[in-house]
Amino acid sequence: MAVLSKLVKWARIKSPWIIHYNSGGCNGCDIEVVAALTPRFDVERFGILLKGSPRHADVLVVTGPVTRQTKKRLVRIYNQMSDPKFVLAVGTCTMTGGVFRGGYGVVAGVDEVIPVDVFVPGCPPKPEAIIHGVVKLLEKLQKL
């Protein structure tokens, strides 16, 4: 049993699968997340793979302040993911709501809706910063 859980942990650290969800952001962070996946930065060389379905993913990458309409859907996607699950919040909006704080359509902050493991600040953070955030998350996984 111990061997199996070790193997699972090893696999998870070597190849975390992510799902990307925009909870009402401006797209700036989203194109940087995609830029991190494309040849210049290429996080796929670390085994990080973008998946379309929450049921396949270990890590939920959230961008944008949570709007009233995406709130429910964000929770639903989070609930659909299988345990153990982790959340990487990319961008300043995910921390406080950023410039949109106070807008009637904004909840302000992903952590008010679902638990977050790592925040990456910046508007938008550079792909290097996003990769750094992923590394921090992997360090956290190592300690589990």
């Binding site: 009402g24 797209n27 700036g28 944008g64 009233r68 410039v99 106070g102």
Partner: protein, 409 residues
């Protein structure tokens, strides 16, 4: 009786979305399909509605610069520049020529980045991932140029009321010119790929037709309109910035399909490269910005720019304080909603991703599609990835006959 039942069973409703990133342009389409054909389209948007227009009324003109920039992360410079020039007109000040030229340069560089991004996404939608990766690799060239000029890759914060915030040194100018050479060579190569590659021709030619009459009637904007033979470009038709001095061609194609939309954007990218080079070579000397008094007397101004996706409109009304009375934004994708609904009608389900992406709704379409069979009350959920894979698979099976049929037309 039995036949009728069969007839009924063929008609399905497919809600697609709502996951799609953009300001108000977060869309949820409901398709009514008959077998493989789409017969009706309904949409519901507003998932990214953050209340920016209301929020802007509680912020000062300077604070709003940064709010407007974040309406859309891909055309941030178009939004911020449009806002800045509208407020300038509102306050009755003019930015110095060097400031206007640098602003125009940023607009054009942004158009290059946005069109290349779109081209990559379109390639991804039709399952041509090699092209997607290649284009995104080359797009990094223009991203680096923008970072060198402004200090940020996406939200440049270059425009300010009264001019721009940073100057371009001679050293930087040479670096940009070098980068533009690389981009020009690569873009010309991509144009060749788009015109010759069978994968693209099979999936894009004669797909998502929007006739010229419909385009005029539904007031489509930007590359979507220009791909349907409508010669309209705000840069020429309502000149702003330095566009009445910069030479450029308005690209118009009249085949009205997705292929035309691809080619319009590729050609526009080449035009933007030429324009950027012209601007750098003819950059006037002098100041880059003027001073701006924080309070603006009662006035109203209508400002338009040609964002990468089409006509972007700002209407600002001032009331004598340092905050606007009303700030109205009309983004290009909102104007292209009815036209895209028109394009989808009569097409195949498998064409939905590329046709939706065809208007460049900031990012390629839907992330979750819910299929409801109304008769058996069976429900199943598809995400964007599955729909994309379905469309690629469907074309593998049925592609040949469909393409042959299309070529006959």
């Amino acid at each position: 009786m039995l036949e009728e039942e069969v007839e009924e069973k063929r008609v399905f409703k497919i809600p697609v979305g709502p996951q799609h990133p953009a300001l108000k342009e977060f869309e949820n389409f409901t398709f009514t399909v008959d077998g493989e054909k789409v017969i009706d389209v309904d949409f519901r948007i507003g998932y990214t509605h953050r209340g920016i227009e209301k929020l802007a009324e509680s912020k000062t003109y300077i604070q709003n610069l940064y709010l407007c920039e974040r309406i859309c992360g891909i055309c941030s410079a178009a939004h911020q520049g449009c806002y800045a020039q509208t407020v300038e007109e509102l306050a009755g000040i003019t930015a110095p020529p060097r400031g206007v030229y640098i602003r125009t340069l940023i607009w054009e560089l942004e158009r290059i980045h946005s069109h290349l991004l779109w081209l990559g996404v379109a390639a991804h939608e039709i399952g041509f991932d090699t092209l997607f990766m290649l284009i995104w690799r080359d797009r990094e060239v223009v991203m680096s140029l923008l970072e060198m000029i402004s200090g940020n890759r996406v939200n440049y914060a270059m425009s300010t009321v009264g001019g721009v915030r940073r100057d371009i040194s001679d050293e930087l100018k040479h670096k940009i010119l070098k980068g533009l050479d690389v981009l020009e060579e690569r873009t010309k190569y991509y144009k060749e790929v788009c015109m010759k590659e069978q994968t693209i021709l099979a999936r894009a030619a004669n797909v998502g037709i929007l006739s010229k009459e419909k385009t005029l009637k539904l007031n489509a904007v930007g590359p979507t309109a220009r791909a349907s033979g409508v010669d309209v470009d705000i840069r020429r038709d309502d000149p702003y910035g330095a566009y009445d001095e910069v030479p450029f061609e308005v690209i118009v194609y009249d085949t009205c399909d997705v292929l035309a939309r691809i080619l319009v954007r590729v050609d526009e990218t080449i035009q933007s490269i030429l324009m950027s080079r012209w601007i750098l070579e003819n950059l006037p000397s002098g100041e880059i910005r003027t001073k701006f008094a924080r309070k603006i007397a009662e006035n109203e101004v209508l400002g338009r720019v040609e964002a990468p996706r089409g006509e972007l409109l700002y209407y600002i009304k001032s009331n004598g304080t340092d905050k606007p009375e009303r700030l109205k934004v009309r983004t290009p994708t909102l104007a292209n909603l009815l036209p895209v609904a028109e394009m989808l009608k009569g097409g195949y389900i498998a064409d939905i991703p590329i046709v939706l992406a065809g208007i460049d709704p900031c990012f390629a379409c839907m992330d979750r599609a819910l299929f409801i069979d109304e008769n058996s009350e069976k429900t199943w959920v598809w995400d964007k990835e599955q729909l994309r894979i379905y469309s690629i698979k469907w074309y593998k099976e049925h592609g040949k006959e469909v393409v042959r049929e299309r070529w006959k037309q």
